[in-house]
């Protein structure tokens, strides 16, 4: 296979990101609508989306503010939802650590579930990619999603009236996240990590400040790592016994 050119790697990123348009747009419209219903202006809603780019945390913050929770609690809960971004940052470090600081800052700002997951699975499939190619893919994956995230938030804020409940836009979030993750369940270790995380997330759903999420995720990661180790050892032992 000839080495991929920058242009084709960018196009690969765009193709990987493009399916998410289907769900990011309704999700962003929903945020715009809910935010204006909560009394935010179009400008405030857009600033919120532009500065934070994390839908789940934005919804959490909005809901708690409407319940008049103390500001510290609002921030703490929303940031707990976003703790996964620190895990993404750690997982991207082996790939982008060598880039200049300002480029790492750009990547950090653009790290969302979609850009992270599509990039990491592409990097696993193309271990030969250079730093530059990885970066090109990452920005390619952002290109179809993030501009539309802002535009659709604005559109939702301007529509500003109730979208029929029958459209069930709330379910755009689970659908997008499940669609991201299902193709990534490649090995028994991946499946175990996901199952353990799901079981704990459901069991700990009652914990305050969304703390169940980071705990469930961490234990899921530990379970995945453990299964990977066992699988490696069994493979080694199997070879030693000739079977």
């Amino acid at each position: 296979m000839p080495p991929a050119t920058s242009k084709s790697v960018f196009a690969m990123g765009v193709r990987a990101g493009a399916p998410f348009i289907l769900v990011v747009v309704p999700f962003a419209i929903l945020f715009g609508v809910v935010a204006t219903e909560a009394g935010l202006s179009v400008f405030e809603t857009l600033t919120f989306s532009l500065a934070v780019i994390a839908g789940a945390a934005q919804f959490t913050a909005l809901q708690l503010m409407q319940e008049h929770a103390p500001t510290a609690i609002v921030l703490f809960s929303a940031l707990a939802v976003n703790l996964r971004l620190a895990m993404y940052s750690a997982a991207l470090t082996p790939h982008f650590g060598a880039a200049p600081l300002w480029q790492r800052a750009c990547i950090a700002y653009l790290t969302v579930d979609q850009s992270f997951t599509t990039s990491v699975s592409a990097f696993e499939r193309h271990p030969d990619w250079s730093l530059r190619q990885k970066m090109t893919f990452f920005f390619g994956a952002c290109a179809p999603i993030l501009p539309l995230w802002f535009l659709a938030t604005g559109a939702g804020a301007m529509i500003g009236r109730r979208i029929p409940d029958a459209l069930a836009l709330d379910f755009a979030v689970p659908i997008t996240f499940l669609a991201i993750i299902a193709p990534a369940l490649r090995t028994p270790a991946h499946v175990v990590a996901a199952l353990v995380a799901v079981a704990l997330a459901l069991g700990l759903a009652g914990l305050p400040y969304n703390l169940g999420l980071p705990v469930a995720a961490l234990v899921g990661m530990m379970a995945g790592a453990r299964v990977e180790l066992w699988a490696e050892r069994r493979l080694l032992r199997g070879e030693g016994l000739g079977g």
Binding site: A51, A78, A108, A197, A225
Partner: protein, 108 residues
Amino acid sequence: MIDKATLWTVIAGLALGSFALRFLFLGLIGNRPLPPWVLRHLRYTAVAVIPALVAPMVMWPKATGGETDPARLAAAAAVLAVGVLTRSVLGAILAGIAVLYPLLYLLG
């Protein structure tokens, strides 16, 4: 109504906090090599975090007041099944939509 001072404090705090979380490792560790056991855990970041985030939304959707909804449950199962079998994000999304709306219509 949300108080404006609270709103802007939350927007600014959440913006700075989210960027700090995103930049934490990428910015501070940079090119220093991470130990193998850390890398082994990081490989499972996405497959642990995202299912943990989604599971409560699927089981107890806010839109139904937290009551388990067969249409949403079936749609989630369709997304997962098609995603695992075809490895196609787009196929999985379309399968979810194709199951969700008819069932919402029939059961609702």
